[in-house]
Symmetry: C2
Amino acid sequence: MPRYRLDIEYDGAAYAGWQRQAGQPSVQAAVEQAVLGFSGEAATLKGAGRTDAGVHAFGQVAHLDLARDWPADTVRDAVNAHLRQAGETVTILAASVAAGDFDARFSASRRHYLYRILNRRAPPALERGRAWHVAPPLDAAAMHAAAQVLVGLHDFTTFRSVQCQSKSPVKTLDRLDVTRDGEMIEIRASARSFLHNQVRSMVGTLKRVGEGAWSAADVRAALDARDRAACGPVAPPDGLYLVRVDYER
Amino acid sequence: MPRYRLDIEYDGAAYAGWQRQAGQPSVQAAVEQAVLGFSGEAATLKGAGRTDAGVHAFGQVAHLDLARDWPADTVRDAVNAHLRQAGETVTILAASVAAGDFDARFSASRRHYLYRILNRRAPPALERGRAWHVAPPLDAAAMHAAAQVLVGLHDFTTFRSVQCQSKSPVKTLDRLDVTRDGEMIEIRASARSFLHNQVRSMVGTLKRVGEGAWSAADVRAALDARDRAACGPVAPPDGLYLVRVDYER
């Protein structure tokens, strides 16, 4: 029973999130349906990151087991043909045969997210649903400086959704960089794993810094509070992208 | 009666093109409707480039006259509010008071277009409707070299739609650059003016070069033929963007 690794890109706007949910469209269900369509097998897909409703991916990774031994390229092309036919905004970038113990979620050594803020007066046309529109000018350099307070090993209770199911709020944030490219502010976050809503919670807090309402010291105080109520507003899902997942091999 | 210049961004997917057409959604009609909504005036908008159905713009320019003397920023924000309310994928990037003889179309000294080809095996998810998907690997360097055949003063009859209303097929193409950035091939074209379907016709021909079917000499022969039948296939509108319009002051 071969195991396959799938690298997946999607526009999350049309989905209630990665994870299958009764009565709602999900990325997982869309791919599982396409697998069923081409192979006749009702396989279960397991993803590296359970992205929320409206969150996008350039490089989600998932694994599944099939009874029949298909060439990996056939899996990719056949699943894509079925996704396309169903009108899904999901595509399989690559499929490969994985080791039997490969687990897209638990074997992951690092996850990389991108958050995009469109920082200009005019609302987005081409970037609608693909970035957070913030009209007042943001100071990206101040946001970057304040972001460094969050890098490292911390108790991230302040930046964790109350629905988070992770056993511990203590995580190591490897990178939180804020850069500006014209009207677009890009925030890049890397860690072995993230808490639920952690990136969007950190971005919402950094936006407060960018507009001058908060200082880096305020961010530190919010982190030290270990209290969800100390968090800034959670940034909308539109601007968030799961960019890449690393595996040690 | 003040004249206003509007700089406009749009996702062209939902429109039958820039130009107003009976019974079909157009970018022009969407903006005129928004102007009517905020000012009560039935103004006519004149655009620099009459983009086709599905073609996008980062920087279309248009002008219109209003009876009442509104501050330009009020025009921008009020039109945007009405566009948003109507669910249009159009946004006014900037509004400014223009000279009484400013004509968005006839005062333009140069137009800049971008064409994007997503060159990878997997169909697009995030770039759906925003790029031309071409699966076989394209040689961007060969495309760029062949493109230089088209730069300069030429009779572009081969690369002109049969519906083109321009008086003369003779135009000066200032720039036609082909570059690759990972999976994306970007083609940048600049000229004082273009014939109808000229950019998409040139891109379709360059794609033939990229896949190895045509040489630069074949492109030259097609140009010299001055015959629409000598043109390669016309590239789809999804990948085309009106990027900027220059005006001499």
